[in-house]
Amino acid sequence: MPDLMKTPPADEPEVALAPPSGKAAEAGEVGGARSLWGDAWRDLRRRPLFVVSGLLILLVLLVSAFPGLFTSTDPGSGDLTKNFLGSPNLTHFFQDDWFGYDRQGRSIYARVVFGARNSVMVGLGVTLLVTFFGGLVGMLAGYFGGFWDSLLSRITDVFFGIPFLLGAMVVLNAFTDRDVWVITGALAFLGWTQIARVMRGAVITTKHADYVMAAKALGAGTKRILFRHVLPNAVAPVIVVATIALGTYIVAESTLSYLGLGFGSDAVSWGADISDATQDIRNNPHTLIFPAGMLSITVLAFIMLGDAVREALDPKLR
Amino acid sequence: MTITEKTADVPAPRSGEDKSGRLLDVKDLHVEFHTRDGVVKAVNGVNYSVDAGETLAVLGESGSGKSVTAQAIMGILDMPPGKIPQGEIVFRGQDMLKMSGEERRKIRGRKIAMIFQDALSSLNPVLSVGYQLGEMFRVHEGMSRKEAKAKAVELMDRVKIPAAKQRVSDYPHQFSGGMRQRIMIAMALALEPDLIIADEPTTALDVTVQAQVMDLLAELQREYNMGLILITHDLGVVADVADKIAVMYAGRIVETAPVHELYKRPAHPYTRGLLDSIPRLDQKGQELYAIKGLPPNLLKIPSGCAFNPRCPKATDICRTDVPPLVPVTERDGAELVGRGSACHFWKETIHG
């Protein structure tokens, strides 16, 4: 579900953490009512994995939201005569020639900064859509079973049979004006099946658990059982798959751009830049290294975040 | 069929090999596990021995170290995280902990075999029972497929599986729990080991089937003159088949005794508490005696006697000094063979 991707709400009753003895169990004995998310957040703040990945993601999000803060150079304008494939100058922090120039004399630094928005939007957008709809389909199929399971699972299978990239190419080919929304929609349209399958499996294992039975015996309704008992115990694999998939969506966008089916030539995106760089890799690897490096770091940060959140949501691993 | 005739005489005990005397001697065995939360001290100096034809029951609750000891003997501990910092496991005069992996593999299955609690998960679901039984003979003794299958049928007959010939090609799920446990026993018996370790062999079975399986195990043990280590938490099962008992608590042996003695006159407060806390079938008492408190956390074993926080008799010495396993004697000092207790107050416990 979408809010799984966010950091959990910060409703920490700070009072509780008074005893400095350090033992987590002891510290938990006093204090106000706690929630799973509150505890997860408290736990997350102490994890280096989470702090590092969180800061990285924050930085990437900041760059995507306000590229103007990081450079004032227009990523589209280049000076062929002066800067043709100029090498990077690693000591010139935040300056145009920090990462060097590309074949058209454009500042790679400026392009990396401005490209972040499209790439991150596609990656995040597709992941959110896919987790929501795929998760919903998987949850309903898994929980209600029977006819609904047969129906939804067969639909999932049909979509699963469509090759992801080929399908995206066919769909995108139908659009002439391909902006972020179109690309996000096309990838999400084809990508939800994986999450649906993972979610369905996780829900089926969870719904037979004794504690679900116990909740039913208390007279709990379907909504409570689904959202209090089944979902929290079934999301862990979904979070992992979703965060890993996020990277592949960003990569898919770049592949599509490379094939001429992604963003148009005037749009800036890491994918488009990576594909442009391929012709210069041998003599000017910097044209590839920086956009590709940014892409890798972003993807890695999300995967690390997913791992940290998954562990924090499992009280047994704390 | 000629094959059956040819193999008919095999189950007779092997001759020419010493089948008597001391089989296994575990000396001061320690096992610990290094985990994220610290060092789990699962076994803290266990001593026991088994002779040929003898049944030793190792009794303990979960976390007492009874299964870990068995796994250490079998050499199937996960290392790491497991570690054996100290101790000897002497099998027929040789310390197995000093052997190479290859040497130990030769002993495993051939000389020492193990029966697990959960027969269903110990059998491979996609291979027929006959194939799995025959595997031993193909791998260890280089038999042909046909010979191995004949041996498998024979083994199934030995553990009294009805219609063995027809069922040899069936898969594990087609057998009931009791039958699967018989198959496990057949597998352990296949190479006629000197020693069998049975880890809760009947816990997963129903009472009426439990009795069948225990009887079978006892009968086969007599027939082959094997040593048997029976690991269990069930005081009732032990009473039926064991010769001697070792009671474990928090990785130590707290009491050893011949089976009848233990039930009549326990010499350790833990044993006494256990005996008092099980309801009896033939009498209806009032409130059950309950040992207070919880089994110890192996990360933080209490100082002194590990049982002291739960013990009704505990005094200051129990909180500071670890009681050694000392011989237990009659009131007048007469020797009680095979009895030992690791309690500072064993005299008071046994003699009231």
Binding site: E29, A214, G219 | V207, T208, A211, I278, D282, L288
Partner: protein, 382 residues
């Protein structure tokens, strides 16, 4: 391919699982049970009549065809009185856990009725069912899987109040949860801990606290101590007995451990393959069993006393429990019974006081479903 029902049993498989009305009593068991109700106990709080649960076996991927049924529970009747403990014993597969689920309406009965204070709860749904659930609660077998690992103890024990907000006003709940923790012998300060931070016995106490939260009249205990260590079992049993006195609870205590059942129960029912083989007071069943299955079961129980053991007769049954999908005709126990005769294969023995004991003032005069019932003490040393 297999027909709908292969066995020669006169059970009428109801054509539609949801339609449970049209089943008339197939055996006179219920009539007998009513007559036998001891007068001094007053009205039973729970009356179970001819309860049947068949799990259909189906074939086919798209069009599901029923090819048979697992007869998990096949016509069970008994009463539960206020403040008493009725023990149900039997081996795995005898249907005792299914009975628990049926009484909790966690499974839909194929046929039969369960009357709680005169109201048939198998036909209830929605609000009415929810109201009944307040009064019938359950303690589960496995304390490691019956508590949601992602909820704190406070949330787990407090959940009943969220589902039934009328029981405790919102501001009061936390205090109530702490009281419950105290009642079951746990430190009320543990309210913010997670289940995995507790040992098995403590977790079972949490499960019991959850069951108690709504002040139920009946608690159905499905093997509540079988997953616990021996030294902890006694603690939990003692706690359950204490709570029974304190809150005047009725327990249906389902277990396979006959010693524990004897200890806690006032009356005991022995189940075999979906049917009740014998039912009576604990003394009647343990000291004067008349059904061969009960006798075999009792004699097989390992007794932690080698000396008492030696004087006892042991009956070792051959073979395993037959599959409930295809139970033997006539008496279900006949395939393993040493007394079986032709009559046993043809005629289903009814659960009733055996003819030879009718009207006699002997503890053997209790209901037993055997054509050849006779008394045999297998528990005490000869």
């Amino acid at each position: 391919m297999a027909e709908v029902s292969k066995n020669d049993e006169p059970t009428d498989v109801t054509p539609n699982v949801t339609e449970v009305e049209a089943v008339d009593a197939e055996t006179p068991e219920d009539a007998v049970a009513v007559i036998e109700a001891p007068a001094e106990r007053g009205e039973p709080i729970l009356q179970v009549r001819n309860l049947v649960k068949h799990f259909p076996l189906t074939q086919g991927v798209i069009v599901k065809r029923q090819v048979g049924a697992v007869k998990a529970v096949d016509g069970i009747s008994f009463d539960l009185y206020q403040g008493e403990t009725l023990g149900i014993v039997g081996e795995s597969g005898c249907g005792k856990s299914t009975v628990a689920k049926l009484l909790m309406t966690l499974e839909q009965a194929t046929a039969g009725e369960v009357f709680y204070k005169g109201q048939d709860i198998t036909k209830l749904s929605g609000r009415a069912l929810k109201a009944v659930r307040r009064n019938i609660q359950m303690v589960f077998q496995d304390p490691y899987t019956s508590l949601n690992p992602r909820m704190t103890v406070g949330d787990i024990i407090g959940e009943p109040f969220e589902i039934h907000p009328e029981v405790a006003p919102k501001g009061d709940r936390r205090r109530k949860v702490q009281e419950l923790l105290d009642v079951v012998g746990l430190n009320p300060e543990y309210i913010n801990r997670y289940p995995h931070q507790f040992s098995g016995g403590q977790r079972q106490r949490i499960g019991i606290a959850r069951g108690l939260a709504l002040n139920p009249e009946i608690i159905i205990c499905d093997e509540p101590v079988s997953a616990l260590d021996v030294s902890v079992q006694a603690q939990v049993i003692n706690l359950m007995e204490k709570l029974q006195d304190e809150f005047n609870l009725s327990y249906l205590f389902i277990a396979h451990d006959l010693s524990i059942v004897r200890h806690i129960s006032d009356r005991v029912g022995v189940m075999y393959l979906g049917k009740m083989a014998e039912i009576g007071s604990d003394e009647q069943i343990y000291d004067h069993p008349t059904h061969p299955y009960t006798q075999a079961l009792l004699s097989a129980v390992p007794v932690p006393d080698p000396e008492a053991r030696e004087g006892r007769e042991r009956i070792i049954l051959t073979g395993d429990v037959p599959s409930p999908a295809n139970p033997p005709s006539g008496c279900r126990f006949r395939t393993r019974c040493w007394k079986a005769q032709d009559r046993c294969a043809e005629e289903i023995p009814l659960l009733a006081i055996p003819e030879r004991f009718v009207g006699k003032d002997t503890p053997a005069a209790h209901e037993s479903a055997c054509h050849f019932a006779e008394e045999k003490d297998v528990v005490h040393a000869a």
